[in-house]
Symmetry: C2
Subunit: 418 residues, 2 copies
């Protein structure tokens, strides 16, 4: 009861703040974000000491090295957080743009105008930088936010939140516009996900387990991607050198992220030439190959792919390969086993490329480029709050524009409906 009251108060404060944010000028919002950046730098020592508590506890409980790395703040990482806020402040405001305007025969003027969504809930795991990034993006787009980071980062997150919210008052921005649920009890999240009258959208960021939990328990609309099972299709008309470069980049440059490839489909007419070269290069980088029966005939001794391999996001140096009869089979395979995230074709054939780009039902479909570009910064959005594989509201990288919705303003001179 006490916990629920506490969460409810935070949410009510965020909701009230969201209604007030419309009257804060873009200049004031930007200045507040710049002040947040400076405050992070000024308080680096405090942030690092609070973070050290989390790291010590994490080491004691024996969680994975990768997780400890994600959790750890350094001076450089605090500087990067500040840089990220400065970049956000420098972007164009996404709100109060007239998206369309038209006049009806009865004289009514209808304006479709971009507005903030309202209150955005962000539920994430161990990276403390998500706290300041999300706060900056939400404020810039005129949204209040409710932040709920992982329990393993609780001291770091409370410290960051304390430092950045201190910058709001002098710009008349309610402190409650950036709310943080500092209760690590999971029941707080469960309760939060039912408050659809106070939160307008939830964006979960983290592993598939967290995201499924949020999607299954939320009454509030959720924008999400469960995983990135990304494909590279090497067509019979591919430039082999280009295909090898893209394959290597998309698999190896950073294997633990959602836009890295997990599967490679190769046209049967190019497989004998392409696959041995590919295997040589990948072997040098320590990539484990798995394959379909046809692949196994070309690449002796690699592990046979199980049915579940085609669905799996390894986030590791593993690549599963299938030899296909052509673009049609590649497209069907991707639409069946893929996660609608990012998929690429390498081909010199314009015809085959157009077919692939049209028929692959994914957020981002590439021709002759690496899937690793699916990212708000790489797309030129200047920031990223997440990536969506949903089919409503936003697809692919989400940044400021995707944190907005529209409203209709209708100007009349006494019109009534007959």
């Amino acid at each position: 009861m006490v916990l629920k009251d506490k969460v409810l108060n935070l949410l009510k404060g965020a909701k009230e703040a969201s209604l007030k944010l419309g009257n804060i000028s873009s200049a004031d919002k930007d200045m507040a974000i710049l002040a947040m950046a400076s405050a992070l730098l000024k308080n680096t020592r405090y942030l690092l000491s609070e973070n050290a508590k989390d790291v010590a506890l994490a080491n004691k409980t024996g969680i994975s090295k990768a997780l400890v790395d994600r959790l750890t703040l350094t001076q450089k990482r605090v500087e990067e957080m500040a840089d990220s806020l400065r970049q956000i402040a420098g972007l164009k405001s996404p709100v109060e743009r007239i998206l369309r305007q038209w006049k009806r025969p009865n004289g009514l003027i209808i304006k479709k105008i971009s507005v903030p969504i309202g209150v955005v809930g962000i539920i994430y795991e161990s990276r403390p930088n998500v706290t300041s990034d999300s706060a900056g993006l939400s404020l810039k787009s005129g949204n209040a936010c409710v932040l709920r980071g992982g329990s393993e980062a609780i001291n770091s997150n409370i410290a960051i939140h304390k430092v950045i919210t201190k910058c709001l008052e002098k710009f008349d921005i309610p402190k409650t516009a950036i709310a943080m649920i500092d209760v690590t009890d999971r029941s707080a999240v469960e309760f939060l996900l039912k408050q659809d009258s106070l939160i307008d959208v939830v964006i979960p960021r983290g592993g598939e387990g967290l995201i499924r939990y949020v999607a299954e328990n939320s009454l509030i609309p959720v924008i999400k991607h469960y995983k990135g099972v990304c494909h590279l299709y090497v067509d019979k008309d591919a430039d082999i050198g280009m295909a090898l470069d893209i394959m290597l980049n998309a698999k190896v440059q950073r294997p633990g992220v959602c836009n890295a490839i997990e599967k490679m489909l190769v046209h049967k007419r190019i497989a004998h030439k392409f696959l041995p070269k590919a295997a040589g290069i990948l072997d040098d980088k320590g990539v484990e190959l798995r394959g379909c029966p046809k692949t196994l005939k070309i690449l002796k001794g690699i592990r046979k792919a199980a049915e579940k391999d085609w669905y799996e996001e390894y986030l590791d140096l593993i690549l599963t390969v299938k030899v296909v009869n052509g673009a049609d089979e590649a497209i069907s395979h991707i639409n069946k086993y893929g996660s609608r995230h990012s998929d690429a074709i390498v081909t010199k054939s314009k015809f085959t490329a157009e077919k692939f780009l049209k028929e692959v039902d994914s957020a981002c479909v590439y021709h002759n480029a690496s899937t690793r570009f699916t990212d708000g910064y790489q797309f030129g959005m200047g920031a990223e709050i997440g990536i969506s594989t949903d089919k409503i509201h936003a697809r692919g990288p989400m940044a400021l524009e995707e944190l907005c919705i529209y409203k209709y303003i209708i100007l009349g001179s006494g019109q009534i409906r007959s």
Copy 2:
């Protein structure tokens, strides 16, 4: 188990069809929709006789007259269904439009293109015309649809579905693109709402009870409005004649719909002059007034409004009135008690109007016009699949464009990420 298998097969068929619809030309989709219109007219006798079965059963079970009226088909109503399909066929195709295109410094060309959402689930109540309207709008926008109408209209819906899906094959459109769940068991809906890998969005249409049931049980994203608690705010600077006209239209022209007003807020400085005139006019039309304490001092003998009155959608000839201190109080009241649907201000003050239009957090905000215009046809969209009060994807009237999402197509020449 048998029921689940049946539903699952229908959904799989719809999903497969959705992937094929991308290769059907706009012309063929339009011709199929026109053929559906003709088929409805040609089969009027069959449709009316099947509908008569539903009506007979409805009369036997003693449901309300209003419900029987909504359920009943006549020759004229079948003609209207056909007209509606013809109008849809005549609209511009919403898909494959380039929404934006830009080039990155590394040479990548990014195109943001409108595409169908995929599979749209429509769960509705007794009106049989929703069956043909939804099928037409879905097909036009390249979506497969899964239709689930009310059990009271089951014979009518099966008949309409049979007639319209016969028109698809000659245009190479898979019949499964328009799927109908003809099982009236509610467990079929419950099962359907968990199939988030086969349905991309659910649009429930009907009473608040149905919509809450869908929202609470769905794993699939839902776009919806629970109710329309619409307000008219009569400002101190209102043209009283205009305010009376708009009030009358918004309350009385069709009180049972979601964009009719349920509440009226009146500035204290105009209340003594305005309210007696308003009461006289509304009384003539049989409208029951309820009021806040200040209203009761001006309009003697009307019923005192209870707290719950401010939240209630009467869908009837009842109007609850509050005297307010000004636009600020009106805006706060609307943002607290309203349903974020449609709200209007009548005023000659440009300043007050702008404040109201900006700060009222509703899908449609009107200045000097009736809220009754919140409607796809009245907005000039040519059709309507529903109205949303959600804050993501679509807000206000939804038509063809709102049945689409976008994808990114990225054209490269071998770019890899460094």
